[in-house]
Structures are given as C-alpha cells and as structure tokens.
C-alpha cells in the first residue's frame, strides 16, 4: 500500500518535471520531424516541425548568425549552432532553450560533429584553426591552429568535414593545404598535412559514404581530392582546368560544397564563376557532362533519393531555383520561390524542400513530386535551414 503510494508520488514528481522540461506541459515527443531555421539578421533560431509546417518556438540572443551553420547530436535532440562571431550554442529542440554556449573565436564559419557524436568541432577564420569541444558540456578539448609558412602565420579554415574514425578534414584557404585531424584521442590530435592542394580552397565536402574528401578551389579551376579509405591518402587533382582558360564571371557569392549532390554514381558540382553545373563520375572522377543553368550555382543539392538535383544561384539570379531530373538528364523546372533564395533543405525522405527567401522574410515549401508550392512560414531574413535528420548522415 505504502509502496503504491510512494510510486504514485514518484510518478507524479517525474511527470511534473518532464512537463517542465518540455516547456509548458507539452507531450512527450521525438525530434525526427524537427529542424531549425536561422534568422540571420536577428541572432535567432526558429525551431520548426516538418509535418505541420509550423514554428514551435524561437530561441533568441545567439549573436551574429550571418553564415551560421548547424549540426545535430546523434539523438537529434540538440542542435549545435556556429555563429559568425565565434559563438557556439547548443540548443535543445524540445525545451527550446540554450543548453550550453561558449564564445570560442573571433570569427567562425561553421562546424561538424564526430562520427561517435562525442566531439563538436568549430572551424575558424580568426584565429585561424579548428577547436574541438566535448559535445556534452562544450568543454574545450583541443585547439589546433592552422599555422603555415614559417609557423607564425595562421590561415583561415574552410571546408571542415567529419570523416569515419573520428577524423576531421579541412582546408587552409591562405596556405592551399588540406589537413586531416585524427581525433580518436581528442586531447592529443594527430595531424596529417597535405601541402600543395591548390590555390585558395574555398569549401570542402565528404562523400556520403565517408570515402572521398573534395576541396573546391577558387584560385584555379579544379578540385583537390583525397581518398580517405587509403591507409596513406594521396592528394589528387580532378577537373583541372574545367574553365578551359576562358575568363570567368565575377563571383558575387562563393559556391558551397557541403550538402552537395551525389546521385547514383554521379556527383554534381558548382562551377566557379560560370553558369554551369559539372557532372563527375565518382568511380573515375572524370567529367562526364555539364549542365547549363540560369546563373552561377551556389548550392547544388540532391533530393535524398538522388532523382532530382536542386540548384540555387548567386546575385543577380538569386531569385531562381532550377530542378534537374537525373533520369531524364534535363532541367525540368525553373522556379521563382522568392527574393534572395539562400538555402534549401529536403525533408528526410525528400517529399518536400524548404527554401529560405531572405528578402521576402519567409521560408517557402515545395512538394518535390509536383514541383508545386504547398506552404510557407514567416521568418525574419532566413538563411540556413537544417533538419534533425542530418544527425544520421556523414558530412552533414
């Protein structure tokens, strides 16, 4: 009798504390249907739900979120948001609260999470390098300066990607190098340097299988590649001189490689300063085609099943989005979802795509099967959109 009573009291206490955690008595729930939208001008993040196409809450006070990027804890509950001003915030999607926050650099450009989910790594412009944090507490575990030249110079770091084996790969913009940091012992990182990767790497990516790291070059036409499956990876150059020596257009916005497109055995990559998407065979790394598009591509992203590739553009074509059908081999739609389309994110299984129309202050939602607009949500100057399904994907 007494024990029943005690159990009842315990259950009641647990119930109230859970309700307290869920911010105002919300029911128990998972996060697989949730995501975040960055409101870049306000230093705020919206927590959104895919199925209801709604905003669950807003988390403010996160500093300068221009060019902010987010990764997710393995359980999909926490989003780690990397701000331009060096702020790293761990957000709880369920309670819509800041679980932890550190200022870790003067100028930061994004981050990644390790394969085992224990390490969060920030890539920084200033001071140039990467920093490794405990994913639970955000305690600093390692500080790896991107030194070059005589050892006193520090380079901006770009293109950070997580790779199998708790490794992280990144590129040094000012030094033209790629580094692999093996963080299997987080407090004593092992660095392998690859000098001579090419001039001004601007971003990088790892293929969905975790095998290949590619760094796009701004200072020359080509891409530097590493095969991470090899015990001793060798630097390779692919797509050399894809511009055929022709003068390129002025580039008003750097293309992004992360969240790139692999569909079947083909990869679709933005050509720098050209109105083209390059198609590459991922077995041979030879160019197998080019797709003429409306403007200079910024994001080239495959729907999760690889059937479609969606492309957005730099100024002045940033009001357009084009859809390439990988089966038919042609552009099947040229859409105008809004003004200044900065980013696109597919739902986990690709039925919908959410696109931020920065200058219209909204996120526009399209059905990808019918290429029809099915909804929108209001957001102030939205930029990056990140869904919790990224938690399970390498390179995201």
């Amino acid at each position: 009798m007494l024990s029943v009573l005690l159990r009842a009291i315990a259950a009641l206490a647990l119930g109230t504390s859970l309700a307290g955690c869920a911010g105002g008595g919300a029911a128990l729930r998972g996060t697989g249907d949730l995501g975040v939208v960055i409101e870049r001008a306000d230093g705020a993040v919206l927590v959104v739900e895919n199925s209801t196409r709604s905003i669950l809450g807003r988390i403010d006070g996160l500093g300068d979120l221009s060019h902010a990027h987010a990764v997710f804890s393995r359980d999909g509950r926490y989003a780690y948001v990397f701000g331009r001003d060096g702020g790293l915030s761990k957000l709880d999607l369920l309670t819509r609260r800041v679980a932890a926050r550190v200022m870790q650099a003067g100028n930061s450009i994004g981050g990644a999470i390790s394969q085992d989910g224990r390490l969060v790594v920030a890539q920084n412009y200033d001071p140039g390098g990467i920093k490794v944090f405990d994913a639970g507490s955000l305690e600093l575990l390692a500080d790896i300066p991107a030194t070059h030249g005589d050892g006193t110079l520090r380079s901006k770091v770009v293109g950070l990607a997580d790779a199998p084996g708790n490794r992280f790969v990144f590129a040094l913009y000012d030094a033209g190098e790629i580094w692999i940091a093996d963080l299997s012992q987080p407090r004593s990182p092992r660095i392998t340097r690859f000098p001579g990767a090419g001039r001004q790497p601007y971003d990088g990516l790892v293929t969905p299988d975790g095998r290949h790291y590619l760094a796009g070059l701004f200072g020359e036409d080509g891409i530097a590649a590493l095969d991470l499956w090899q015990p001793q990876p060798q630097l390779r150059r692919i797509l050399s001189g894809y511009g055929r020596g022709e003068q390129r257009l002025p580039v008003f916005k750097m293309p992004h490689l992360r969240g790139w497109a692999v569909a079947g055995r083909r990869a679709y990559l933005p050509a720098v300063g050209r109105h083209e998407v390059l198609v590459v065979d991922t077995e041979t790394w030879q160019e197998v085609g080019r797709i003429p598009v409306k403007g200079q591509p910024v994001f080239v992203m495959a729907r999760p099943d690889g059937r479609q590739v969606w492309i957005n553009f730099a100024l002045p074509d940033n009001g357009w989005v084009q859809v390439f059908d990988t089966l038919g081999g042609k552009i099947v739609a040229s859409l105008q979802p809004g003004r200044a389309v900065l980013h696109m994110e597919f739902t986990a299984r690709g039925d919908e795509v959410w696109m931020s129309a920065r200058d219209d202050d909204r996120v526009v939602i399209y059905d990808t099967a019918h290429l029809a607009r099915v909804g929108e949500i209001a957001a102030r100057s939205p930029s990056g959109i990140f869904f919790a399904s990224r938690a399970a994907r390498i390179g995201f």
Binding site: D64, Y125, M254, P316, A340, D359
Partner: protein, 115 residues
C-alpha cells in the same frame, strides 16, 4: 567576351530586379531614401556574405571604420568597382554606379548604418 555578356546580363537583371523597387534610376548623385535603403541592405547582406553582416570580416577583411578610416577614399572606391583580381573580391561595376560606390565607401569609413 564571356565576361562582357555576363556584365550585360548582370546589368539587365539589376535594372529589372534590384532597382525595380527604387523610385528613380540607379544613376543618382545622392541615392534617394529608397535606393539608400536597398544599398544598405546590399552591403549588409551581399557584401556581408564575404565581409560579415556586421562587417567585422569573413573571407574578406573587416570593413569597419577602424579598418578603413585612414585609407584613401578613391582607392577604396576603385576596389569596390574594379574588385581585386586574384582574390575573391569581385568587381561591382555594373551592379553599382561610381556615385553609389562612393556613397558606400563614405559610410563604411564613417560607420555603416544598421538598416
């Protein structure tokens, strides 16, 4: 050749798009309020992609008054219009008139408006 076609495309798109909200054509000595606001937005948002929305730096250097105050105005205007070949800084001629570039540089040197 490629490049010139690109420039005309850019110009045409700008006239059709960005300036459509402005009350007057782009070539004004002192941009009116509308154009002024859209220039502020352009600097914060689009220059901000490389220089940071708060202009504290990114891939490109900080464009704060501290960084630019003592720099020759004409050289900065030339950089904005002509870009810096060999670096990601693109030439904005075609998207911005000389007057507009001057207007932006003056404000960068003095302290750039929020909105």
């Amino acid at each position: 050749m490629d490049y010139r076609i690109g420039r005309f495309r850019v110009l045409a798109a700008v006239l059709a798009g960005m300036v459509s909200c402005a009350a007057a054509p782009a070539a004004l000595a002192a941009p009116d309020d509308e154009r002024g606001r859209s220039l502020v937005r352009l600097v914060r948002q689009d220059c901000g992609a490389c220089h940071g929305m708060l202009l504290t730096g990114g891939l490109g250097p900080a464009l704060s008054p501290d960084a630019l105050r003592d720099r020759p105005r004409e050289a900065l205007v030339a950089t904005v219009l002509g870009g810096r070949p060999g670096t990601p800084m693109p030439p904005w001629r075609g998207l911005l008139t000389e007057d507009e570039a001057g207007w932006i540089v003056d404000r960068l040197q003095a302290g750039f408006p929020e909105r």
